[in-house]
Amino acid sequence: MKEYFGTIFRSVRSLLKGMKLTGYYFTHPKEIQTEEYPDNRATLTMFDRFKGEVTMPHDENNEHRCTGCQACEIACPNGTIKIITKQELQPDGKKKKAIDTFVYHLELCTMCNLCVVACPSDAIVMGQSFEHSVYDKKQLKKVLNLPGSKIMEGVE
């Protein structure tokens, strides 16, 4: 009989112990960590290493650093990157390989960062944007080099 009531007492005590903790957090809402996304969109900053999408930075003269060596295309495990090259006529009369279009299929990308690591001229970096949802699948196919852009001087 004593044991029977002892068990009941211990059981109720263990439940109350848990309830006490729950009650503590219920009355102290400041200790709860919640990301208020999307309400905090204006102030939300991602970490600088966050892998959101592959981007190609251009400077103010609309110049990029991509030489068209296709190292990223080889490094990509999913065939996300397709580089179409062209032969560009140099001022000294020689022909040089340059990129025509840098096609990036966002829908195939797994953000593994292998293309960025493989790039010898730091032409591509990982961008921080992560809101990629669109209504049409075709919008996920992106051309990274801006229209009319050319390679920065001195990048080989």
């Binding site: 263990s14 960590q33 970490f47 966050f50 495990p77 990982m126």
Partner: protein
């Protein structure tokens, strides 16, 4: 009436039901066919293949640098440890010496992954057994670990931070202070975990004595990790076959003799504390130096077979590479912990009530993408 071509009620009067593949308590697309006598389980048959992505076959057409990212999608809760296993196996073939700094970073990340994985498991176990609150508490601490991962690796779950020869880039300058803050936070919450779930009378009654498996059965089914250690089988790869410098660290292999759900629960709870202990030893002693060994542009493994095993949060993961000397593997085989642990489910659950099946499944800690690959 028929279901999957068989009668719902068998000749012996057993009732056949299908749990899953879309069931919240199976933690993924696991399909269990259960033969019931009243509420007592007579037989269980897991049906696999719903999330098979043929990662092994896919890897055969990828180079030794490229195939590692796919293993993040196997056991996605210990993604870093999977990547580490592949990187270690390739390094074994290349005979590359990994710098001490890279080794230390890898262990730190692996233990943080283990910690976050066990925290998610703790929350989900509570959720499965009817306690919703632990889920939110567990995710609160897990969030700060995810922030560490995001800051240093660039992703929260599928990091792809290990590369053959070391890690992809050096740790973030804020890494040390962030880890220390997180450890301080987690240490103070362990008592809360015990207050809210471990000592709870309902939880104890639903797990103690439920889902028993003996040490002999655990070995014969090939169980590893906390599932086997809950039956007293010593199988911690970090102790038995140390890799990446685990031999220099002090930690205990947690063993429980109970063999039931409660023992497996206690093993994981104690392992969390051991992970914190390992991280504390390393965080102030990360050696200086290179974070990546110099490797060739195109990796080619010599002809032969290479095997590397690591301890993930769920058990032993083995990576077996057969190389014919080319730039991509001839054959890759993953020995995944969840597949073997799942095979012991029938032994554990036969004779118990159907309500206990949920408790058994959540203490095996199944991750279905790792079962199917």
């Amino acid at each position: 009436m028929s279901l999957l071509g068989e009668d719902i009620v068998t000749e012996d009067g057993e009732f056949v039901i299908n749990i899953g593949p879309q069931h919240p308590s199976t933690h993924g697309v696991l399909h269990l066919k259960v033969w019931l006598d009243g509420e007592t389980i007579k037989r269980i048959q897991p049906h696999l293949g719903y999330i098979h992505r043929s990662i092994e076959k896919m890897s055969e057409s990828l180079s030794y640098r490229n195939f590692i990212y796919a293993t993040s999608r196997m056991d996605y809760l210990s993604a870093h440890i999977n990547n580490q296993a592949c990187a270690l196996c390739v390094e074994k073939g290349l005979q590359v010496e990994v710098p001490d700094r890279a080794k230390a970073i890898r262990i730190l990340m692996a233990e943080l992954t283990r910690l976050s994985s066990h925290q998610l498991w703790w929350g989900c176990t509570g959720l499965d057994l009817g306690a919703v609150t632990p889920f939110f508490y567990a995710f609160r601490e897990r969030e700060s670990i995810m922030a560490i991962m995001e800051e240093t690796c660039g992703a929260r779950l599928t990091q792809n931070y290990c590369v053959p020869g070391g890690v992809m880039y050096d740790i973030h300058p804020n890494f040390r202070s962030r880890v220390k803050d997180t450890l301080k936070q987690i240490r103070s919450k362990f008592t809360e975990y015990e207050e809210i779930l471990t000592g709870n009378v309902i939880f104890e009654q639903r797990t103690k004595g439920v889902g028993y498996i003996s040490a002999e059965d655990a070995i014969s089914f090939g169980c590893t990790g906390p599932t086997a250690r809950g039956s007293g089988v010593s199988c911690d790869i970090r102790k038995l076959y140390p890799y990446d410098g685990y031999e220099k660290l002090q930690f205990k292999e947690i063993l429980e003799q109970g063999g039931d759900c409660y023992a497996r629960y206690m093993v994981r709870m104690a392992e969390m504390k051991q992970s914190v202990f390992i991280i504390e030893q390393l965080i102030d002693n990360i050696p200086e130096g290179e974070f990546q060994a110099k490797t060739k542009m195109v990796l080619k493994l010599p002809k032969g077979e290479f095997y590397q095993r690591v301890e993930t949060a769920r058990g032993e993961l083995g990576v077996y590479i057969v190389s014919d000397g080319a730039a991509s593997p001839y054959r890759i085989k993953y020995r995944s912990p969840n597949f073997s642990n799942l095979s012991a489910l029938e032994k554990m659950a036969t004779g118990t009530k159907i309500g206990d099946l949920v408790a058994i499944m959540s203490t095996i800690d199944l991750v279905i993408p790792d079962v199917d690959r």
